[in-house]
Symmetry: C2
Subunit: 226 residues, 2 copies
DNA sequence: ACCTGAACACCGTTCAAGT
DNA sequence: ACCTGAACACCGTTCAAGT
């Protein structure tokens, strides 16, 4: 736990985009979204904040690069599956698990529309939607529906984790707090919210997520049957 | 266009949570997400930044309150529809249009999981999913699938608008930039992204959004037929 | 070509002091 | 009870100066 014992020591290796991205990921994993600052990063890399700008355009660029490294790994790991349908489910679950472990990926992803991280996911999904036999002119809509759904869940999981970190809540405590607040809503105005409040803290996020994917896949199949 | 002509003038009305939220919405609409600061808000309200904290817990609270006001309006406007299916589509379109006009609502919404703004949407959707005849134990999954999809699209639209504002791009220019970057991807690795790049700048976001809702609704119906 | 680190122009939030 | 505004502890980013 020695702090900066060698603060003025020279780095052994020179800075590079990769080493900066790697250090950013470590920082984000350890301290969450707010943990990534140019000063903290410079400390960890034994350099000054200005040096980082030689290799990286700005913070958004850095965050997207860190996110992309994570997505690339997740997409490579989620290759297998016997049918297009199974591969789509595996890609989706790969995303879910990545964001479960690294919540910051969820918000970084949502803040970089059209960028490489998102295109990686779009590509995997699109190829399988195509293999599913969806008509050429319906492939975009089917694929972007899947992608939007995945991004939606990712964003929420990221936000949940963020709040949990800020308030030192675990998942359980957070959901119980939410459930309690739903139960205090007006009974005639919010019957549905109140009726599902109870299952909120016991439900399985991952299973629910997959159920949503299945719903969209069924919709795609039903459309093909027309 | 007189600026601060009366900067030291007393406010005519005293501060209130409502007036603060109202001023926040005006600021967010005019200057985007980054336009909402306690200093800018204090200026507009002829007060100091500290005064705002008497009525509002912190910035997250303020943003959620502003978001909630917008969602409440949208949900009240999207009441009509002959069938549950039509009401669901109208609720979804109401959200789409709200975020199209006020992009900051999309990101505020995504950052406040379990909070009132989201519950308002969940409730509307849930009531209609229930009316659709979905079995009791499948209602939560169907409703949250719809909600997650809506949140996903909302988040992307918000991010698109945010980038557009930062770079002074209009929608068209932004999408053309994205399409151009997709066309530069490796042809064997990214066949799908390249094949859809062309339609990217001419596609109709709103129609695509609705197509996704329809896909999920079909999935729900298919599940009921089991 | 790459790095340094002080400086700039901001933030959200707090809090003693006022009314 | 409510407001004031200076002060605190941060940010991302820039840039003259170094090597």
């Amino acid at each position: 736990m020695v702090k900066k014992a060698q603060s003025s020591a020279r780095r052994e290796e020179s800075l590079s985009r990769e080493s900066i991205v790697e250090a950013s990921i470590a920082l984000l994993d350890a301290k969450g979204e707010s943990g990534l600052t140019f000063r903290a990063l410079a400390d960890r890399l034994n350099t000054g904040p200005g040096a980082i700008y030689w290799h990286v355009a700005n913070k958004a660029d850095l965050l997207t690069a860190a996110c992309d490294a994570m997505i690339a790994r997740a997409m490579n790991a989620a290759q297998e599956g016997a049918t297009p349908r199974e591969i789509i489910r595996n890609v989706a679950l790969g995303m879910f698990d990545t964001i479960d472990e690294h919540p910051w990926v969820g918000s970084a992803l949502n803040r970089a529309p059209g960028q490489l991280p998102m295109v990686r996911i779009l590509e995997r999904l699109g190829q399988q939607v195509s293999s599913l036999g969806v008509a050429k002119d319906a492939q975009w809509q089917a694929t972007s529906a899947l992608l939007s759904y995945i991004l939606g869940v990712s964003g929420q999981n990221a936000a949940n984790a963020q709040i949990g970190r800020e308030q030192n809540y675990d998942r359980e405590t957070f959901l119980q707090t939410v459930a309690a607040s739903w139960l205090q809503l007006d009974a005639s105005e919010y019957p549905f919210a109140r009726s599902v409040a109870a299952q909120l803290s016991v439900h399985d996020d991952r299973a629910d997520f997959l159920a949503g994917i299945d719903l969209i896949l069924r919709g795609i199949e039903a459309q093909q049957a027309d």
